[in-house]
Amino acid sequence: MVRQRNSYRAIVAVTAMLGLVLAGCGRDGDGGPQETPGITDTTIKIGISVPLSGAVSDAGTAQLGGAKAYYEAINAAGGVTLSDGKARQIELVSYDDGYEPGRSVQNFRRLVEQDGVLAVVGGLGTAQNAAVLPVAKELSVPQAYVASGAGLFSVNPTENPWTIGWQPTYEAEGEALAQAAVALDRPVTVAVIRQNDDLGNAFLNGFMRGIEGSEVTILDDVQTYEAADTTVDSQITNLAATNADVLLSAIAVVRLQVNALTKARELGWNPTVLLPGFTQGFSTVLQPSGADTYFDEIYSTGFVKIPSDPQWASDPAVVDFLDRMEQYSPEANANLPNAIWGYATAATFVRALETMDGLTRQDLMDAVRSVQADDIPMLLPGVAVDASAAGAAPVNLTRLFRFADGRYSLAETG
C-alpha cells in the first residue's frame, strides 16, 4: 500500500515537472535576421536535393553534376556580381533524397535551418517537389526552377509564391507534337496509346489542344497501359486494326515503347509515328525495335541540344558544356538529359541572381520570376526562357524533331 502511494506520488511529481517544463517552453524567436541567410560579402550559398542513391540515382547525379559544372565555371570566372557591386562565389550544398518525398522535405528543412541557404534550386522529381512546395511557402524560402514536367509548380504563382518550375510541361510537349500531325495538312486520323495516369492524360490533353481547329481527329478508342505492364501487344494490335494515319505512342517506359514499335512493324502497319521525349532515343528505342529503318515518318520533341548529336559538334555552348562536365563533374553522365537540364537551370538561376534588385529572398524570388533570356546555354535555337509568363513554365516551348538518316533534326514545321 505504502509502496503504491509512493509510486503514485512519483508519477504526479514527474507529470507536474513535465507540465512546468512544457509551460515554460516555446522556442525563442530568432528576433528577425539582420542579414539574408546564405549571402555573405564573398559567397552565395544555395541548396539542392536530388536522388543520389536508389533506382534513379543516375538521373539525380546527372542533374546535380550539370548544375555543379555551371556554377563552378562561373566561380572560376570570378563569381556572380549582385546589385551591390560585389562579386560572390556560389557555394552549392547537395543532399541525397533517394527519390523519397519525405526525405526531400527533410532535406529542404536541413538546407534552410542547418546550412542557412539562400534558396533551393533545381530539385528533381514531381512528387518529391510537390511535397516540398507547402514547406517552401511556410518558411518563405525560394524553391526555384524545379525539374519536373508537371504543371503545378508554375501554374499558380499567387497560391505558391515561393515555387516555380523550369522545363516544359507534359501538356506543352503534347501540344508541340500535335504540330507534326497538323502539318500533314489533310484529314488524318490519330490512334493513341497513353499511360493510364494523370501524366499520360496531361500529355494527351496538350495534344488535343494542339490539333484544335485542324483536320486532325483522334480515334475514340484510346488505348492505355500501366507502367508495370510487361507487354502492349494487344493494344497495338487493336490500334493497327484501325489503320490510322498517325500513331501517337505516348509511352513513357522505354521497354514498352520498344515493344509497341516492334509490334506495329510486325503487323505491317506504317503510320506516321509520334514519340514523347522520354522514349525517343535512337540507341535505346528506335534501333532495338527496328523502327529506324521501317517507319517512313518519325517525329518527337525536345528543347535542349543533345551533345552527342553531330550537328552540334562545334556549337560553342555544347563544347563548353562537355568541357565543364568533364572538368567539374566527371562522375555524372553528360549524355543524360538531366545533366543538360541541371546545367541550363543553373544558368537561368545565375541570370536571376544578376538581376536581383536587393539582397533579400523576396528580391531573389522577384528576379527568379522575371528572367527573360533567349541565350541560355544548351537550349535549342528559338527556345527562350520567359519566367514572367504567369501560369506557364519558364521554358515553355518545345521544338519538333523529325527522324531521318539515323538522327533527329529540327523539323521545318512550326
Binding site: R27, S57, D96, E100, T126, A130
Partner: protein, 344 residues
C-alpha cells in the same frame, strides 16, 4: 536480482521519457521532424515484425498498407473534412480490413505463399493511386498539412507534431508489447517454430496468421497516418515496393521478433542514409546490403538480440555470479507459454 533489474529498466524508461519530452523544446524543427519520422517508420516495422518476426511469415506488402493509411488520412481530412481522430481510425481500420481480406486466402498457401501474394499489393496500390487522380492527386500526390498546434500549448508546429507522433507511436508499441508477451505472442511463436505442434495444441495456424497479417496491416496504416501528420504529403512513391524491402531489411537488422528491434529499425532506416550521405550517397544501397549481411553473420537475431545478450552478460558480471542467466530460446518460451493452455 530480478527485482533489481525491473527497477533498473523502469528507471531507464522513465529517464528516456523525460529526455524525449524535454528534447524538442530546444532542438530545431528539422531534428524534431526527423525523430517523428523515426517513430513513424518504427511503427511500420513493428507491424511487419508481428507478421514476419513473430509469426514467421514474410510480407512484402507493408508499403501498400503504409500508403493506404496515408491516403486514408489525407483524403479523409482534406477532401472529406473529417476530424483527425476519425481519420486515424479510418487509417487503421481500412488497411486492417484489406489485410484480412488478403490474408484469408493467402495464409492457406504453404511455405512462402504469403510472400508471393503480398508482392502484388504495392504494384496494385501504386497503379490505383495513379489512376484515380481525382481522389488521390495522381503522380503529383496529395498535400495534407493536418498537424496544427493548438494555441493554448504555445508550441510550434514541429514540436506539437513531435509530441503527437511520439505519443501515438508509444501507445502502439505498448499495445504490441502486451500482445506479443500475451496469448497471441505465444500462439504465434509456436506456429513459427512448428505448425504441427501448434495444431495439436488447438491453435489454428491459419486463423492466427491471418490475425497477425491484419495486425501488421493496421500498424502499417497507422504509420501511414503518422507519416502524413509529419510530412504533410502522400504520393504513389510512398507505396512503392522498394519501401517494403527496405522496411523488411531494417527489421532484420534491428531484430526480428523484438519490439526493441523495431524501434532500432526505425532509427536505422532514417539515419543510415544521412550517415552515408556525408561520405558518399552513391554507396547507400551498397552499405544497406553490407550492414544486412554483417548483422546476419555476426548477430543473427539482429541488434536488439545482441544488446540483450550484452545486457545479460553485463548483468551477470555485475552480480559476480559466474555466467549470466541464459536467455530462453524462442522454442522454450513457446513451450512455457503454451503449457497453461494445454492444461485446460
Amino acid at each position: 536480482m530480478r527485482r533489481h533489474r525491473r527497477w533498473f529498466t523502469g528507471a531507464v524508461l522513465a529517464g528516456g521519457i523525460i529526455v524525449l519530452a524535454v528534447f524538442p523544446l530546444n532542438s530545431t524543427p528539422y531534428t524534431n521532424y526527423q525523430i517523428a519520422l523515426v517513430a513513424t517508420y518504427a511503427v511500420a516495422i513493428l507491424g511487419l515484425n508481428l507478421v514476419s518476426g513473430y509469426a514467421g511469415q514474410i510480407s512484402l506488402g507493408q508499403s501498400a498498407f503504409f500508403g493506404l493509411g496515408g491516403y486514408c488520412s489525407a483524403i479523409a481530412t482534406v477532401k472529406a473534412g473529417w476530424p483527425l481522430p476519425a481519420s486515424f481510425l479510418l487509417a487503421c481500420a481500412l488497411p486492417a480490413a484489406v489485410g484480412l481480406v488478403v490474408a484469408i486466402p493467402a495464409v492457406r498457401l504453404r511455405g512462402h505463399g504469403l510472400a508471393i501474394f503480398t508482392l502484388a499489393l504495392p504494384l496494385i496500390g501504386v497503379a490505383l493511386a495513379k489512376r484515380y487522380a481525382d481522389l488521390t492527386g495522381g503522380s503529383e500526390g496529395l498535400g495534407a498539412r493536418i498537424s496544427q498546434a493548438p494555441a493554448w500549448t504555445g508550441l510550434d508546429r514541429d514540436q506539437w507534431t513531435y509530441y503527437v507522433v511520439l505519443a501515438i507511436a508509444g501507445a502502439l508499441f505498448l499495445l504490441a508489447r502486451n500482445m506479443v508477451t500475451g496469448r497471441l505472442g505465444r500462439a504465434l511463436s509456436t506456429i513459427r517454430e512448428n505448425e504441427v505442434v501448434a495444431v495439436s495444441m488447438g491453435i489454428s495456424p491459419q486463423k492466427y496468421k491471418a490475425l497477425a497479417f491484419a495486425m501488421a496491416a493496421t500498424f502499417g496504416g497507422a504509420a501511414g497516418w503518422l507519416y502524413v501528420y509529419t510530412i504533410g504529403f502522400i504520393s504513389p512513391v510512398e507505396m512503392e515496393f522498394l519501401l517494403s524491402i527496405n522496411l523488411l531489411a531494417m527489421m532484420v537488422v534491428g531484430g526480428m521478433g523484438s519490439v526493441l528491434g523495431s524501434l532500432l529499425g526505425g532509427v536505422l532506416y532514417v539515419y543510415i542514409p544521412i550517415a552515408v550521405g556525408t561520405v558518399d550517397p552513391v554507396r547507400t544501397t551498397l552499405l544497406y546490403g553490407a550492414i544486412l549481411v554483417l548483422v546476419l553473420f555476426f548477430a543473427p537475431g539482429g541488434i536488439a538480440r545482441a544488446l540483450h545478450r550484452a545486457g545479460d552478460w553485463l548483468g551477470g558480471a555485475r552480480a559476480g555470479s559466474g555466467p549470466g542467466p541464459q536467455r530462453p530460446s524462442a522454442a522454450t518460451t513457446a513451450e512455457q507459454g503454451v503449457s497453461p493452455m494445454t492444461k485446460t
